[in-house]
Symmetry: C2
Subunit: 431 residues, 2 copies
């Protein structure tokens, strides 16, 4: 662990630097697979499923029999936990629904804004050692509330051609319309172009490795939107002597176990706490199943001592953490002041894992400092806002001249003429 005491602001940028990712050597592969899936559809998808996942499938769609079997197979305790989490996530995302906003900006000029669902969305859920079914809840629940008509899920099959029952169960209860056993670059390509079996979607959501990340970037070149740019997960905790060192250590470790490139930072106004947390981390580390991963991330972690709250907040805003835990006596100062963070966890009994799974907030959040300009996934991520306007004869009389003047000043005569014609007709009718 790197302990840093009262770093001068000029050093912050360097101290807070995230590990850089190079993606350029991946790009050529991704471009090739996109081209092939665009041209050959399902045949190309099957080829890459065979190469990357080591399995040849009869059908790439999860059947209703497989769905029934998964529901039967899944442990009752996991089902109950998913249901509890689902209820909370639903409550929080339903509360984000907004109605039509209507304003008569000038008498006779009625303008309104309304949100309508993105009709077709695609969710990507990675495979690998752990079945990340919690991410399905975070994506499919708001998609369903938004009213998206087609909610497609792609996830890589195991070598036996199966999908983990927890993934199928979560997809089923959250309203996913079709589940495909397709992973990696070929999944993103299939949802970008559509194939004989997999529908083209308008927006793609979900995490993934570097290949998936580059594939999602490439998808945007073909007019598909994505949830947000991706990067390694990160947590910043600000804590003082009112914090429980064991809890802080457990939160830092829960972040560290995600991957060796995870970012873990403690900022504190207490030297004692820094020492205590360091000790707790070493103790708890030995009991962890993912100890090897966590240790590597912890080796790169930073424990930063600063002298006062104002300095701490400025440093945290400069970093813009994905997850931000506040265990400070003066917590309101941070809650009210923070400008750049994905999701904020307040107090000793609010671990990051609560938000990762079951409290109700979304866990798909901006990493890599993107909290400065991007929102996490919310209900709005599955909607687009549209504006409407209806102008009466009175209305165009009230604003028509201003439009004519501005259009003329911009040199756009036809824009002006569209108003002049209407004003002339009104004049004629009333004279």
């Amino acid at each position: 662990m790197n302990k840093i005491y009262t770093p001068p602001p000029n050093d912050w940028k360097e101290i807070l630097r995230r590990p850089t990712q190079t993606v350029e050597d991946i790009e050529a592969t991704v471009i090739d697979i996109f081209k092939e899936v665009n041209q050959k559809g399902d045949a190309a998808v099957a080829k890459y499923t065979s190469i990357f996942d080591g399995v040849t499938l009869k059908s790439n769609r999860v059947s209703s029999l497989e769905i029934d079997q998964a529901i039967d197979a899944l442990d009752q305790e996991v089902k109950a936990a998913i249901q509890l989490a689902k209820n909370n996530i639903e409550k929080f995302h339903k509360a984000q629904q907004t109605g039509r906003i209507t304003v008569e900006t000038t008498p006779g000029v009625s303008c309104w804004q309304e949100k309508r669902p993105i009709q077709k969305v695609g969710l990507y859920i990675p495979g690998g050692t752990a079945p990340l079914f919690s991410t399905i809840l975070m994506l499919a629940i708001p998609a369903k509330i938004a009213g998206c008509k087609e909610i497609v899920l792609c996830t890589p099959p195991s070598k036996e051609g199966a999908v983990n029952p927890a993934i199928i169960y979560a997809a089923q209860v959250c309203g996913v319309t079709r589940i495909y056993k397709v992973g990696g670059i070929q999944a993103i390509a299939a949802m970008t172009f559509g194939t004989e079996t997999i529908p083209q979607v308008y927006k793609i959501f979900g995490p993934g490795n570097q290949f998936v990340t580059v594939a999602k970037q490439l998808a945007t070149k073909y007019g598909v939107a994505i949830d947000m740019p991706a990067g390694p997960s990160e947590l910043l905790v600000v804590a003082d002597d009112t914090a429980d060192a064991a809890f802080v250590a457990s939160d830092l470790l829960s972040q560290a176990e995600h991957g060796t490139d995870s970012q873990v930072i403690l900022v504190s106004t207490s030297r004692n706490l820094i020492t205590a947390v360091e000790k707790e981390i070493q103790e708890q580390m030995s009991t962890l199943s993912r100890k090897r991963i966590a240790q590597k991330a912890i080796d790169n972690s930073k424990l930063i001592y600063v002298e006062d709250d104002a300095t701490a907040l400025a440093l945290i805003d400069e970093y813009g953490p994905e997850h931000f835990i506040i265990c400070m006596e003066n917590e309101d100062f941070y809650v009210n002041g923070i400008q750049n963070a994905g999701s904020v966890f307040i107090g000793n009994y609010t671990p990051e894992s609560a938000g990762d799974y079951a409290s109700g907030t979304n866990h798909t959040l901006p990493t890599n400092g993107y909290a400065k300009q991007y929102s996490g996934v919310s209900l709005d991520s599955f909607l687009k806002s549209m504006t409407f306007q209806k102008i009466s004869e009175e209305g165009i009389k009230n604003i028509g001249n201003a439009i004519e003047v501005m259009a003329a000043a911009e040199g756009l005569g036809a824009h002006k003429n569209a108003v002049t014609l209407r004003l002339d007709k009104i004049k004629k009718a009333t004279s």
Copy 2:
């Protein structure tokens, strides 16, 4: 003009195809200029201002003296028109403000969502023949309402090193904090990396030519967000015999004068209207100052006859127009049914130019079919939503077990441990 009668749905995609843009040959230039601006800052910006704009500037920032002079110089009528438009745009975008959304998802688990401003934003306004000051209103007014601290505007200087007074005036009254005489790729690069004089921003907004479009795409690779992907402007009008053919023609022409690649489509359930609009277009065309541009766009336009409202709406949703004018007896069918459109204009006295300038809605809208997944610019474009949560001891007792079960099922032991530690402490304290 291309008249098409009752096209079968299988042909829609081809009929509605937009002109393709090739950007690959531009990319190398953009990458080079980005590299140079990143390394050499203002010196590189000055070099490219000299090459592309043909002027060497003493300072690239518009001075307070220049601002005063512009305010004096600008025609009183234009100032008044800008003020009227500003009032309406302010009213409509202020109405989009939302408060904190708080939900106690489970007793003791309090979650809330709040929006906070993007601290630093950059606006790009193209130069060329017409000074597009209206776009400054559309971008700077919501940025100011959102509470963005730094609102930077870049616009190319004239050969004399000047900026049009209407641009300076609009920037000044709408709360732009700094105006720079920098255009094109070098402007986007400067706002992406920051230079000695120009601040780095978190999100870049505004229109531009193909060079600017590619530069904005490249900016996203360096972690800067952009408003939306760009494409040529477009208008689709749906009209029947209740429409005024002269008005419809004037609206189509106002779109056509934007550029030779503008998209202009009329969908109608009336053969008579199609004939009448065609005649009106020819008559009005001759009087236009930008006749040559408009004629080219009109040559590529489509007048499409369909038999009924349901077919019309399905075809329009397939296209997803940036601007959508409805002049139909059965207007509610379209207003309620349309899923994919940027901004909707309803009735005979609601020309598109109203929304372009002064009604209050935003004119920065998704082109190229992006209305299927992107919103136009709104107040939210300058904000990011953050989530917060605070869990009490009671709260973690209520959801802790579900978190433990889900974390274990995902193989994330440290996530589980962060909850177990807290539950154990509560148990000890109460036993």
